[in-house]
């Protein structure tokens, strides 16, 4: 009753709805049992994506001066996306030319870190599906066996590529096969 009186005495333009609902029937909390599955009841099965997309990154840094300590890099990065195993016609193919300068604040324990500039030499990134394509500048650090990326220069160093250093050349690569939803043509 007081609630009703309250509603009557409030200014006409006040937001009465900001009081709790008056009727229990309007209880907004759904207290029915949870619907999240608790497991697979029908035994092990394994669904497989209809379409697969191979994401491939390959590249190298040439480090100078020879023998170190290194003060510059030049290099190349190739990115390809291959749909359903069709290596001859990648759906996306990018080639970047790379240059880099030393970065003083590198990753913990890294042998060296570089700020790398990516120059797009070939390809159209719009055709690629991968969300984390290289930005114009990225900071990497090397600690065997990985090349670490300072993600968005946030200080979060993520193992980005497997890498090997041999004779002042750092070779790196990454591959992952994922599913892709493709709109089928009718």
């Amino acid at each position: 009753m007081l609630l009703l009186l309250l509603a009557c005495t409030a200014p006409e333009d006040s937001a009465i709805s900001e009081l709790p609902p008056e009727e229990s029937a309007d209880i907004p909390v759904d207290s029915t049992p949870f619907v999240v599955d608790s497991g697979i009841e029908d035994g092990p099965t394994d669904t497989v994506p209809t379409h697969s997309l191979l994401l491939r990154h390959e590249g190298f840094w040439l480090l100078t001066p020879l023998g170190g300590p290194y003060r510059a890099i030049t290099g190349e990065l190739l990115i390809q996306e291959i749909l359903d195993g069709d290596e001859e016609v990648p759906v996306c193919s990018l080639r970047y030319a790379l240059t880099g300068t030393p970065e003083t604040e590198g990753c913990a324990g890294c042998d060296f870190s570089f700020r790398v500039t990516h120059y797009l030499a070939e390809g159209d990134p719009e055709l690629c599906q991968e969300p984390d394509l290289p930005g114009e500048q990225e900071v990497f650090g090397w600690k065997e066996p990985n090349l670490y990326l300072n993600y968005a220069e946030s200080g979060l160093w993520l193992a980005w590529y497997e890498a090997t250093l041999e004779d002042d050349e750092l070779s790196f690569s990454w591959e992952q096969t994922v599913g892709l939803t493709v709109e089928e043509e009718e």
Binding site: L6, I27, G39, P131, T181
Partner: protein
């Protein structure tokens, strides 16, 4: 009253087809309930129901439990799912070790930083993340994560020497379960929106509902609902009420009785009734939907400690890339 009237006329001839009146529902009481503490617990629980719970449950479970092909990852959304996502997993599979992945979850994130926190101009950090779908990861002993619904979260931080300011918002509309997703046994379901400001100010807004299938506040209440704005002493002006929130907090007991503690009005119009407009740290308690007794009196509660519990998530925790999903 209706029951009494029916009792009075019961000596009259009664049509045998007339159903007997339902027994009068006894009204509950609050004996043994420390309501101020219950309200504090309700608010404290509510601010913990952010997207960070199911997000970290998904990331932790995938990082530590995924195996080659179980589950399958997708760029974009999985097929036959009405959902926007940059990355996702979808599968119905079981690993040789007995772990299962069932359903699908999709997510995306953003993170950007500008400036230097050591310089006077400071550093600005913005991060967002979204998670949606209906997926569960677990083994025969239970769930590591189960999430059915959608949520989004954002933070904005400015840091400079001697200065800090942040805003944090989260909206989860869904059900969360699993040991990697929530410390609350049995999980929770909510449609809660949280918004808070910290650093150089103390401000909190909470709107929505939450249900706990196993947790009981004061061994009695299984749900909370609220629509409130609360300001703390930090950064407050002389006109700011820091003793109580504007809005209300509701607690539902297991018999579905809602107790609503109504504080000051949420808007500037206010209410004519004095109990609502005074900034005194007290609210009026009502039993919702029951004509009498409606007004259960005044309850005073100190909610200021909630600001010590508000800490925005680490921006780094918003990041989950394909490079981090590789199976061991």
């Amino acid at each position: 009253m209706i029951f009494l009237l029916l009792a009075c006329v019961s000596e009259e001839p009664v049509d045998s087809d007339t159903p007997a009146p339902a027994p009068e529902l006894p009204l509950p009481d609050l004996d043994g309930i420390d309501l101020p503490t219950a309200v504090q617990e309700a608010l404290s629980l509510a601010v913990g129901l952010s997207l960070g719970s199911p997000w970290s449950g998904n990331v932790t479970s995938l990082t530590t439990l995924a195996r080659e092909g179980c589950p399958d990852f997708y760029v974009g959304s999985p097929p036959d799912v009405d959902m926007e996502a940059e990355l996702s997993w979808a599968d119905t599979c079981r690993t040789s070790g007995g772990l299962f992945f069932d359903g699908y979850l999709g997510w995306d994130h953003s993170l950007s930083l500008e400036g230097d926190p050591a310089e006077a101009a400071g550093q600005t950090v913005e991060a967002t993340r979204r998670l949606g779908g209906n997926g569960s990861i677990g083994d025969d002993n239970g769930l590591f994560v189960g999430f059915d619904g959608e949520g989004e979260e954002a933070i904005y931080q400015v840091t400079a020497p001697g200065y800090s300011h942040w805003t944090w918002s989260s909206l989860v509309q869904g059900t969360v379960e699993g040991s990697n997703a929530t410390p609350l046994t049995g999980g929770w379901r909510s449609d809660l929106y949280l918004y808070s400001i910290g650093g150089d100010a103390e401000h909190l807004e909470v709107r929505g509902n939450a249900y706990f299938p196993e947790l009981r506040i004061q061994d009695r209440f299984d749900s909370v609902a609220m629509d409130l704005v609360l300001d703390g002493a930090l950064g407050a002006t002389s006109e700011t009420c820091t003793l109580e929130p504007a809005g209300w907090i509701g607690l539902r007991d297991e018999q579905a009785f809602w107790y609503d503690l109504v504080f000051m009005p949420l808007n500037d119009d206010g209410y004519i009734d004095d109990p609502y407009t005074s900034c005194d740290g007290c609210g009026q308690l009502f039993l919702r939907g029951v004509e009498a007794p409606v007004d259960l009196g005044t309850v005073c509660v100190d909610l200021s400690s909630i600001f010590a519990e508000l800490a925005p998530p680490d921006p780094e925790d918003f990041v989950y890339t394909l490079h981090q999903t590789e199976a061991p």
